[in-house]
């Protein structure tokens, strides 16, 4: 039984954050090749495949197309597409499939050429323009001139109203993540910033400033999961999937049941219980940082601090370099790389930390790492607890 325990054996990145020489399909392929090279598994050993089209790639990289393009002969396939957290959902799904014997070795890939193809317009444009007629659930939202950042601003405003959270407290999140970005030569922005810089940056959707918002990048990633037994003779030290859980509270932002609570309040404690660890046992957290408020809500909901106390918690410096819970040690989506769906980078960075391969950003004695992804508009949350092999 133990021998089928799921592990992450290989990780890889394509080129980021700016890669005009790669299209989305090339990002998938390059990341796959680097993940295979990382662990020494042969492509012919892959019998499970999962990928999610970013939605910004004009439908060129749906899971069926990608299985064909990459030549994957799979016994198990999953094309769940729930936004940035999809890759945390994939860890849960792959762990279940491997554990049950539906397949032995799962490849997960992601690729996006969003920046090179579309530029930086995404966050501050409406999704449908003048003259468009909009179907489905978006028909009730598309007329109001909301932008992506605006959806998160609605949550931030409500959190400030209920708990007295301040823009300064949110800004400390961006400052701490930028500190780690200075250590990542691939990070999109590497100059240190201050709280005053964040508050002085352009107001995008009040109360969120430009520096409360993630960057827009190109990039891709891949990871390979297999059984503990299969991983024994690989060249990398496997990272154990101790617990993985996922949940959804809504999809469109106007349907969010509680604007200060995400589905991490369900799947966070579930993942910790499966892993048999408590929040205080966690050495580093890789937390989805599409916007600063995203981080605050996810940390509260997972139980790192009480609901409403996130402002004081992040202001304490606990998430900073040298703090008790270093967060987003690769520079995060706020500073390093956000190609549309960042969840795979959270997994890969957690693995890098648990292997002790994070260089200057290495968290000392890192034994337990958490990756928590948010997809949609704070809609779909996946929490993954990983342990050093």
């Amino acid at each position: 039984m133990t021998s089928r325990a799921p592990v992450i054996a290989g990780i890889g990145w394509s080129d980021y954050p700016v890669a005009p020489h790669l299209d989305a399909l090339q990002h998938h392929a390059l990341a796959m090749r680097r993940a295979l090279d990382d662990c020494g598994i042969a492509k012919s050993d892959i019998d499970g495949y999962m990928c999610a089209s970013s939605g910004f790639n004009y439908g060129v990289d749906d899971v069926g197309t990608m299985a064909e393009y990459l030549g994957i002969r799979h016994r198990f396939i999953d094309g769940t597409s729930l936004g940035g957290s999809t890759f945390e959902f994939f860890v849960q799904h792959a762990a279940a499939a491997i554990g049950q014997g539906a397949c032995d070795t799962v490849l997960v890939t992601y690729g996006s050429d969003m920046l090179s193809r579309m530029g930086r317009m995404l966050g501050t444009s409406t999704f449908a323009g003048k003259g468009a007629r909009v179907s489905g659930a978006p028909q009730y939202e598309s007329s109001w001139g909301n932008v992506l950042a605006g959806s998160y601003a609605l949550a931030a405003r409500r959190h400030m109203h209920e708990f007295g959270t301040t823009p300064e407290q949110l800004a400390t999140i961006a400052v701490g993540v930028r500190e780690f970005a200075t250590l990542n030569p691939n990070a999109q922005y590497r100059d240190p910033i201050t709280v005053a810089d964040v508050l002085g940056s352009r107001m995008i959707a009040d109360p969120l400033h430009k520096l409360d918002c993630c960057v827009i990048s190109d990039g891709g990633g891949a990871f390979i999961m297999t059984t503990e037994e299969r991983a024994r003779d690989l060249r990398t030290r496997p990272v154990h999937v101790l617990g993985a859980a996922a949940a959804q509270s809504h999809w469109t932002i106007s349907q969010m049941p509680d604007f200060t609570t995400t589905a991490a309040a369900q799947c966070g404690p579930e993942a910790f219980a499966l892993a048999g660890v408590r929040p205080e046992d966690v050495d580093t957290v890789q937390c989805y940082d599409s916007f600063t408020i995203t981080v605050l809500l996810l940390l509260e909901d997972m139980g790192f601090c009480a609901k409403g106390e996130g402002g004081a918690f992040v202001e304490s410096g606990i998430l900073r370099r040298g703090g008790a819970l270093p967060m987003n040690t690769d520079g995060g989506g706020l500073s390093a790389c956000h190609p549309g769906m960042r969840g795979i980078f959270l997994i890969n960075e957690a693995v890098r930390q648990l292997r002790g391969e994070a260089g200057e950003a290495q968290v000392p004695d890192c034994e337990v790492a958490v990756a928590c992804g948010s997809g949609g508009a704070l809609s779909c949350i996946g929490t993954v607890v990983l342990g050093r092999g």
Partner: protein
């Protein structure tokens, strides 16, 4: 200053479907409809073919048109027309008296005067022959 609601016809608009046609048709008559479940009493918006609580077929009821502002943002940057020239403007989530919430623009007051919890009333503004949009304004005392 021109009212933000004057730009209703310049926006992306809904494409009414089998379920939502009832709702959008009502807006053109100045009526705001929501759904109520005859089996469990649950109110819901947006309109659907099933109750999100028990799965029964909902029925239409007229909303009071009164609500409060649950949360909001003042949009500072939007590169898409017509909004590029309308910033700053308020995107809000209004909580209807009956319970459900909807996205809207809060109009008829300065964005700086908008507060969470403020009382609002609906203003159905014609945007096309088959659609009026539910803007919300500060409630008259």
């Amino acid at each position: 200053m021109a009212d933000l609601a004057d730009t209703a016809s310049q926006r992306a608009l809904p494409l009414p479907d089998h379920v939502s046609k009832t709702y959008w048709d009502a807006t053109t008559r100045g009526e705001l409809l929501i759904q109520r479940c005859p089996a469990c009493g649950h109110f819901q918006f947006y309109p659907r073919a099933a109750c999100t609580e028990c799965g029964s077929e909902p029925e239409w009821v007229q909303a009071s048109g009164r609500g409060t502002l649950h949360t909001y943002t003042v949009i500072g940057q939007n590169r898409s027309a017509p909004f590029d020239t309308l910033v700053p403007y308020v995107v809000g989530i209004v909580e209807l008296e009956e319970g459900p919430r909807m996205m809207t623009n809060v109009v008829g007051c300065d964005p700086a005067d908008v507060t969470v919890g403020m009382a609002l009333e609906v203003d159905l503004v014609p945007a096309a022959p088959d659609v009026s949009l539910p803007f919300w304004r500060p409630a008259r005392a």
